[in-house]
């Protein structure tokens, strides 16, 4: 059940397209969750948590109606829906408050839905063997930096698997596709995107520090798993005298697509802000 969220379909449709195509190859069918609203992460949450819980509760209730898990592509949506679920599941009063707001539409949230981010799906639902088998045109060892983002790995309570303190799934996927994941300083650090609204300079410096660390570790490109991170790590590389040294940024699924024989155009490669050619040209096979 794909909850597209509100930023991905507008600002990063290529991520959405790549997700549907690649997951299909891996045997997972993605059904859109329609009639949804914005999850309210960060902005609504900060101003009025009651409204935030009700917005998230509505999304959870809609997916429940269809009896499927929720899949999110954006880290902020994943984090906020998991957080909403945690609060509503634990607190009866908050739940009944939300349900009374949803009741007007005939909706009710009853704790029976799971929220998964794309990386959770790779972690839990796709076997490494199946992934191996789907790779028909592997990369020839290009060095790539995985950027996990914040809400996908933290906080380490029941929201995310406590066994995985230091996430490795993206690195594993990169390796299976023929890339060489690099270790770099501040790997789990934030991209700076949430601070853009308060102070652009601070936000950009957080992002640029991250990119500097990736470059120092020898990365030739960046692989992301969150819409906001992807946009942020791309945009900070503009206007900072980095013309000659920009690292290509792409989502994990856009990275996997070409290695599975999916065409660049179908994956929306040409829509990427940074040129993807350095990564795509490192594929071993003839294209």
């Amino acid at each position: 059940m794909l909850f597209r969220g509100c930023i991905t379909p507008v600002r990063h449709p290529a991520y959405e397209a790549a997700t549907v195509l690649v997951l299909e190859r891996l045997g997972i069918s993605v059904v859109p969750l329609n009639n949804t609203n914005c999850c309210g992460a960060q902005y609504i949450e900060s101003l009025n948590e009651r409204a935030f819980l009700a917005l998230g509760g509505r999304i959870l209730a809609l997916a429940e109606q269809d009896g499927k898990d929720i899949l999110t592509l954006c880290g902020a949506c994943a984090g906020s829906l998991k957080h909403t679920k945690k609060l509503l599941d634990r607190r009866k009063r908050a739940r009944s408050e939300v349900n009374s707001l949803l009741g007007k539409e005939g909706l009710e949230y009853t704790k029976n839905v799971r929220v998964k981010h794309l990386l959770d799906v790779f972690e839990e639902d796709i076997s490494l063997e199946a992934l191996h088998a789907a790779i028909t045109n592997p990369y020839a060892g290009i060095r790539l930096a995985a950027h996990y983002g914040c809400y996908l790995t933290r906080p380490f309570d029941e929201l995310n698997s406590p066994a995985i303190k230091i996430p490795t799934i993206m690195d594993t996927v990169i390796r299976i596709a023929g890339g060489r994941p690099v270790e770099y300083e501040g790997k789990s650090r934030c991209c700076g995107s949430p601070i853009l609204i308060m102070d652009e300079t601070v936000a950009n410096n957080v992002g640029l520090n991250k990119i500097r660390n990736m470059r120092e570790a020898g990365a030739a490109g960046i692989v992301t798993a969150c819409t906001n991170c992807d946009i942020q790590l791309s945009q900070v590389q503009y206007g900072n005298g980095m013309e000659k040294s920009r690292l290509p940024v792409m989502t994990l699924l856009q990275f996997l697509g070409p290695a599975m024989g999916i065409s660049d155009d179908d994956l929306g490669m040409y829509m990427n802000r940074t040129s993807p050619s350095r990564i795509i040209e490192s594929l071993t096979g003839v294209r």
Binding site: R4, C6, I7, P9, V10, R11, P13, A14, E16, A17, V20, P32, N34, N35, T36, N37, C38, G40, Q42, Y43, I44, E45, S46, L47, N48, E49, R50, A51, A54, L55, R58, R91, A94, L101, L102, K104, E105, C150, Y151, R154, P155, G186, S188, R189, C190, G192, S193, P194, I195, I197, M198, D199, T201, V202, N205, V206, N209, D266, G268, M271
Partner: protein
């Protein structure tokens, strides 16, 4: 990072008795998400890992310290609670399970009620209210989706969204912060 003198989160020392509201920390701790506050040892592990603190002088420990001290007005009316990126790094490192990010959400909700929400946040909330999402739909987007073979952008369920926001009290919060903006 520009900060006006009266809004500096570093504050002025010594702290004066009249600025201290001893009950403040209990008010925060009584809210959902604020429970961990009273366990804080002020060890500073939160500040050490803060990505915002790596580029400017921003210290989560200082924020917690101010709340525990009872500097209600300073905490609620300054930028300090709005600069957190909510990345959860401090939460991961905290030995006392304070959950700084959740405490910040409680503080932001309190500040918003009093008309002290950061203007950027109010603007984004209004954007969501107006468009149903944080980024606006354009003709270019529709074309990109078509090229990718994606279904047209779905309706953002704007009526339901507004209904929920209104019933939950968000309209009142936004109005409170707009008034504040006009009087500045």
């Amino acid at each position: 990072m520009e900060q006006s003198e009266d809004k500096s989160y570093r504050g002025d020392f010594p702290v004066r008795d009249q600025d201290v509201q001893a009950s403040f920390k209990y008010d925060v701790a009584s809210m959902v998400g604020g429970e961990g506050l009273l366990r804080c040892l002020k060890c500073g592990a939160c500040s050490g890992g803060c990505p915002v603190g790596s580029v400017i002088d921003y210290r989560p420990r200082k924020v917690l310290g101010n709340v525990l001290l009872g500097l209600k007005d300073e905490v609620l009316s300054s930028d300090q609670i709005w600069l957190c990126a909510a990345c959860f790094t401090c939460e991961e490192r905290c030995v006392q399970q304070v959950a700084f990010t959740d405490v910040v959400t409680v503080l932001r909700n309190m500040a918003s009620k009093e008309g002290h929400a950061a203007p950027g946040y109010v603007k984004m909330a209004e954007m969501v209210m107006q468009n149903g999402r944080v980024s606006a739909r354009t003709g270019v987007v529709d074309k990109m989706r078509e090229q990718l073979g994606l279904p047209p952008l779905q309706d953002p369920a704007i009526d339901q969204l507004r209904g929920i926001m209104k019933a939950a009290g968000l309209y009142g919060v936004i109005a409170a912060n707009k008034k504040e903006g006009e009087s500045d």
